[in-house]
């Protein structure tokens, strides 16, 4: 502090300790003028605090944009001076009202100065171009683990149903099976895989597609994805189980088509949106596992502290996966019904896969720091 506080005269007269004179004071006319160090300090700084308070009041009401550029500059200067006032006041003042006021003022200014400045569209574009791919790249181990869990599930489901078709009804709920089961004939399965072009109009055309998109978005898979991420808080085991269980369902599905020699056709039918959707499920699982890792192995921090430091990356992976689910729902709603040629289906599936691969793994050199 550059300010100099001349020691004011304090409660005169002060009798030396141990003086035998009994402390009897008389009520007299105003005897002495006194100025407290902390009162003096307050007088000197008060104008700045009031100015800061005025600026904060305005931003709290009208947003940060209601301030002119010069006022913004002033705001950050005043914020720092309020913090320094608080530090000084904490060491020299015992006026509680003053301390509480300065703490409150500093906090309010802090929230304005360090608040997020970006709108939803700005942060979304930043997220899509940088945040998401980077987060995915850093989650390699977790993605591998989630992928393994899914594949284990697929194989288990496939071979179990192949051996004993009774397993099918255990793995796949009726709503999801949509009437398909081990008892279905080849014709019944084909009818789902290759819908009659006339059905498109019958199902409501574009609005029907939109509805299907909406249904797909809230389908089981999206819910499973978000649940897999959220369950990461529970140390990860439920996440693995959930992902593996999705694999089991898929495997069971493949098994009934395999029996009727429709595997290639089924995979084509699935690949249009499935490449994106399965990737999204894996990413959600990976994000859940990242959360679990931070909780299980906190290192030098407390578990909660560690999560709050590293949780952002996991959250970014999960948020990106939501976007993938969105894309998958569009593909499912609008394209799966229209395209009934298996080769074209594989082409679309492959193209989406390639797109995601390039998106996530494109050279880092492209990314320039802001």
């Amino acid at each position: 502090m550059s300010e100099q506080y001349t020691p004011p005269p304090i409660y005169p007269p002060s009798s030396p300790p141990g003086s035998s004179e009994p402390p009897i004071a008389k009520s007299t006319a105003p005897s002495s003028k006194v100025s407290l160090r902390s009162s003096q300090f307050r007088e000197e700084r008060e104008k700045n605090w009031m100015e800061l308070e005025f600026l904060i009041d305005r931003t709290e009401k009208g947003g940060i944009r209601s301030l002119a550029a010069s006022e913004l500059e002033r705001l950050s200067v005043l914020y720092r001076s309020a913090l320094s006032s608080l530090s000084v006041a904490r060491s020299i003042a015992l006026d509680r009202n003053l301390l509480v006021y300065l703490e409150n003022l500093s906090l309010r200014a802090f929230l304005v100065v360090y608040g997020p400045r970006s709108s939803m569209t700005e942060s979304l574009s930043h997220f899509l171009t940088r945040g998401f791919p980077e987060a995915v790249r850093s989650a390699g181990r977790h993605i591998f683990l989630a992928f393994s869990a899914l594949m284990v599930g697929v194989f288990a489901g496939f071979f179990l149903v192949l051996q004993n078709p009774d397993w099918y009804s255990t793995f796949v709920s009726e709503a999801m099976a949509g009437g398909r089961g081990p008892g279905s004939t080849r014709e019944e399965l084909e009818a789902v895989l290759f819908p009659n072009p006339g059905d498109y109009a019958k199902n409501g055309g574009l609005i029907g597609s939109l509805a299907m998109f909406a249904t797909a978005l809230f389908s089981n898979n999206t819910m499973v994805g978000v649940l897999a991420f959220s369950l990461g808080i529970a140390a990860g085991a439920p996440t693995i189980v959930l992902i593996a269980y999705q694999g089991v369902t898929l495997g069971a599905f493949i098994a009934i088509h395999y029996k009727q020699n429709l595997t290639v056709e089924l995979l084509g039918w699935l690949s249009i949106h499935g490449v994106t959707e399965i990737l999204a499920i894996i990413l959600c699982g990976a994000a859940g596992l990242m959360v679990a890792e931070k909780i299980l192995f906190p290192g030098r921090y407390s578990r909660i502290e560690n999560l709050s430091i590293h949780g952002h990356t996991a959250a970014q992976v999960a948020i990106g996966a939501m976007i993938l689910f969105f894309v998958a729902a569009i593909l499912e709603g609008f394209f799966r019904q229209l395209i009934s040629d298996t080769a074209i289906r594989y082409f679309i599936g492959g193209a989406t896969g390639l797109f995601w691969l390039l998106y996530f793994l494109r050279p880092k050199a492209e990314v320039k720091s802001v």
Partner: protein, 328 residues
Amino acid sequence: MSTTSSADNFFDRPQAKSVRFITTPEGVQLPVELASVMDRLGAFTIDFLICIAIAILFSFPLYFISILGVSGNVLSALFNLIVFIVRYTYFVQFELVWRGLTPGKRIIGLRVIDRRGGPLMPSAVVARNLTREFEAFMPLMVLLSAGSLNAGNFGQWLSVAWVLVIGFLPFMNRDRMRGGDLIAGTIVVRMVTRSLAKDIANSEFHYTFTDQHLSAYGKFELQVLEELLRRHGQELSSHMRPGVSAAQAFKASMESKHMINEVTEKIRNKIGWLEPIAPEQQLQFLKDFYTAERAYLERGQLFGMVKADKHQELKRQEVPPTENNHKI
């Protein structure tokens, strides 16, 4: 001053257990008050109702689609989509643009902040609202479908259990964080605006005190006296306020005067002030004593000597005062 048994009850300050400290990038610790679970529930209810209203507004076009003869399934799917988009953008957009506020939080006086005092990142905002899907909206749906629960459906029971675990999460951790706060590294705090009251230190003395007088009390008693004098000032000025009847004001001022008398006598006894103080002089005496005591203790503090309350000795402070008992 035994008129107060506990500091928390006397001051208008939050219970110590709900105060946390964040450290600004400049290295200054600032106290924040955690929002209570009930406050947050209230804020969420307001936001939820606003969301429903917006979703209904946006759903009017569906009415025209329904004239075209689209099946009910399609309509409900589209409605779901609209509701989803509305509730999601609502929370994220507001918390980003209003810096941690939504209309509900604004009305109740809450705010989302970073637990460690950093800036509130957009990714944190999105993450804490993504999990809201499973903490609030899914439980609501489960509750709505509770009537159709049957013992055989394992999945439904699992989701009920999930709802219970997640629903009680804010009660189970010290910082009252829900799942989304845990992942995003945020806490929800209660924001109040404090104003700077007039300094009540006198600039002129009628009474003078010695070190012996002043060493009887410590910082705590000084601040209790400050609060008392401030309240007394408020009660005297309450005559002017509308809505306060003359009788009420008179009663309040009598109680306040009685309090002043009581405290004056206590202080006189404690510090050994032999001369009696006339009733009309008591306020002057207390203000003088407050000023002198504050000057005495502040001078001590400047030299690193601290006396926290009347039971403690004036002693050298070992380390800078760390109020951060609840490290987060």
